[in-house]
Amino acid sequence: MKSPLKYDNTIQSTDRRRFMLTTAAGTAAMLLPFRLPWADELPTRTTLVVVRGGTPEMRFETALKALGGMAQFRPSGKNVVVKPNIGWDRTPEQGADTDPELVAAVVKSFVSAGALVGVFDNTCNTAQRCYANSGIEAAAKQAGAEVSFMRKQLFDELELPDGILLKSWPIYRDYHKADLRINLPILKHHGLAEVTGGLKNLMGIMGGERSEIHRSFDKKLIDVVTPILPELTVIDARRMLMRNGPQGGNLEDVKTINTLIAGFDPVAVDAEGARIFGAVPADLGYLVEAQRRGLGEIERPAGYQEINLT
């Protein structure tokens, strides 16, 4: 019996090839997220970088390059906030405030890329003493930033829709309205939080009765920082305040390690800072809380890179 249809060999072979190709492609696409052994060897974008050695400026330039360079921020004409820690009436050597040389390097980098850079902090000691004695006011101005004292009138009560304990908090207008926020803390000891980096440094753009945040610190801190996370966190670990933080005062408590940690994920950067400090990041309540709410990852990410400058 003859088949009523004429068997076409060419068409059939094309179908099979197409079928096999699509199947293979589909399988590959489905498998990729599960990290096949060879997937790690694919070039991953650097999202967290630790740079050691060199000068503060070299460290920052190296870190920025590793993270994809300045161009990705399209800084030209943008309002950029660089938020160092200027909280204490201490000298740079005492390691309580961010290294002024690093502040200058970051400011210079963004200013030369065409950005308008603002620098400010809600200090714990008298503002003008902190600004002057930390060396940051002079260094940042020299580098081209607009350095201003924070004014009580310029805080906005920001809604915190995801807040657990706090539903709103005053946040500095120039910070939350900026196009780009660079958080520039110093790595140091803190009695309550144990080790602090970027997330705790964001208390410097908060107004109101900040000391109330200390009570149920982990939850309240994360409540407030959730909507105001920076685009980039750069931790200054040139000097590390090991004891009597956060304001120290004794040079014996300062350890110089000439290091810089930078990255996009504010939790990952703080966690790496904690590791470098010698703490276990998973033991830090505020980091655990931040990760639980999906602000970032404590675990070292795939895009982690270490660079040693000599």
Binding site: T126, R129, Q153, G191, R243, D253
Partner: protein, 516 residues
């Protein structure tokens, strides 16, 4: 009607008044952080010979910081009471406001001020210093600090706030604010105790003009009295030639009542060299010149009866002063600024001028004038209110700007060691002790190294549970200097859960010249 025949001389005097007013205001404004040590912010009070005299008499201390007062004395010996007419900022303020205050008929006996002066000297010898009540330069500085400066700050701030809120003007308002910030506008709102008291006191002096021009200077001012005594025989002054037609215009118009009934002689103790008579004189007979006046001045005589009255009432007042109740609760919480002399000498030397309060408002902001909680004798003296501010660890401003040495100048290193009090926890209110929640804001802010506030992890008995691992703060009393930042920052509402008392305070003891 005032004739203006020689406008130059009066213009010169008015310019001098304005220039000195501006200089003293600028010096006042420069009493802030960062303090330029090349600027003598306290100069106005250090040129005050009366403050120097009374403070030294009552404290029995040699107060060398008052050396510039010698300049005023020499000026007065040579040029009469020109200080009152050409320099004194209170006199200038009175001259300016005089124009807007309608008068009753001029009266008032100019010798009252000598009675005031004698009273001040007698109480000072009896060991009570009340120059702070009546010294014009003190009154001026105190009024600037406690009323004018905060009021200007609030007014200006209010206008700029409106500007900030209105979008088209916000950029400009922001710029202006940045420009005024620090020197004219305080960085944080400066609120003062005793604002109204000080204002009423000052307004009272200005309103005295109702009774005649320069009423305060002519009738009451004890500094005017002292300078008057010094300048009684000064070789420079008003001289009337034989052209005088005895029209009496000068005597009518003289704001100080310094012209004797013969119109020719001048009471140099009263004349402040305002030069108005030389301008008014229709006969152009009046000039100011180097000229010893040998006779014609009425004697400085306040009368025996009044003298007895003054001596008696001064001694009575001095006695009553010392018997007032001093509540131990109030005195225990009275934290004096670092470098303060021992309380007795402090009360005797402190002029209550508020220079330290002004300077402190630009840093830690703890200093406020006392009201009556420490008794009448201590009103307006500076004390640290740790709930309003704290003593900035590396700041030495109050001692730097103190004109009398009631607060000694300290180096930063000494200041960091200077104990002004001691912190005590109130466990019944402190968050970790009372509720089992972590807090330790006090520990975070404690500036000494190592910290005077430490914590241990411990157990707290609560109503529902026994909580472990709570960070419980305590004070290492050997390290605490009483700076009060813990009390200032404590998040508890109302009274802080950690408070400073003046336990263990270190006061500077200077040897008295006379132990009486």
């Amino acid at each position: 009607m005032r004739l203006s025949l020689k406008p130059k001389a009066i213009f010169l005097r008015r310019s001098s008044q304005i220039v000195f007013l501006l200089i003293f205001t600028a010096l006042f404004l420069s009493a802030r952080d960062p303090l330029l040590t090349s600027i003598p912010t306290d100069l106005l009070l250090r040129i005050d010979p009366l403050a120097a005299l009374i403070a030294m008499l009552s404290s029995r201390l040699l107060l060398t910081t008052f050396w510039p007062a010698i300049i005023t004395i020499i000026l007065s010996i040579l040029l009469g009471r020109s200080f009152c007419g050409w320099v004194c900022p209170l006199g200038t303020t009175i001259d300016v406001t005089d124009r807007i205050i309608p008068k009753f008929k001029p009266r008032g006996a100019s010798h009252w001020k000598y009675a005031v002066l004698i009273g001040l000297v007698i109480t000072a010898i009896a060991g009570i210093q009340i120059i702070w009540l009546l010294d014009p330069l003190v009154i001026f500085t105190r009024t600037l600090t406690l009323t004018i400066y905060p009021l200007v700050g609030w007014g200006l701030g209010g206008i700029l706030n409106l500007g900030l809120a209105w979008d088209p003007a916000s950029g400009f308002a922001n710029w202006i604010w940045g420009w005024f910030e620090g020197w004219l506008l305080p960085l944080k709102p400066f609120q003062t105790a005793l604002l109204t008291t000080t204002l009423v006191f000052f307004a009272g002096i200005l309103i005295l003009e109702k009774f005649g021009r320069r009423y305060w200077c002519r009738v009451l001012c004890p500094l005017g009295a002292l300078l008057g005594i010094i300048s009684r025989y000064s070789p420079f002054g008003r001289k009337v030639s034989t052209e005088c037609s005895a029209c009496a215009l000068c005597a009518q118009e003289c704001r100080m009542g310094a012209i004797e009934p013969d119109f020719l002689s001048t009471r140099r103790a009263e004349c402040i060299l305002c030069l108005e008579c030389s301008e008014l004189c229709p006969a152009e007979a009046t000039t100011y010149n180097w000229y010893f006046q040998e006779k014609g001045q009425a004697a400085l005589n306040i009368g025996r009866r009044r003298a007895l009255w003054v001596v008696g009432s001064s001694l009575l007042a001095a006695g009553a002063w010392r018997t007032g109740l001093m509540d131990r609760t109030a005195t225990g919480y009275c934290i004096r600024p670092p470098g303060a002399l021992r309380e007795d000498e402090f009360l005797d030397t402190c002029l209550r001028c508020q220079e330290c309060v002004k300077a402190c408002s630009s840093t830690g902001g703890c200093l406020q004038p006392s009201a009556l909680e420490l008794g009448w004798g201590a009103i307006w003296t500076p004390r640290a209110h740790m709930r309003e501010g704290y003593c900035e660890y590396s700041c030495t401003l109050c001692g730097q700007v103190c004109p009398s040495g009631a607060l000694q100048k300290l180096t930063v290193a000494d200041k960091k060691q200077k104990v002004i009090g001691l912190a005590y926890f109130d466990h019944s209110r402190c968050i970790p002790w009372a509720t089992g929640d972590d807090c330790i804001v006090c520990e975070e802010h404690c500036p000494t190294s190592p910290k005077a506030i430490q914590f241990r992890k411990g157990t707290v008995d609560l109503a529902q549970e026994i909580r472990t691992g709570v960070k419980l703060p305590y004070v290492d009393t050997a390290k605490c200097i009483g700076c009060g930042i813990c009390e200032y920052k404590c998040p508890i509402k109302g009274e802080s859960a950690i408070r400073i008392t003046n336990e263990g305070e270190q006061r500077t003891v200077k040897p008295r010249l006379l132990s009486l």
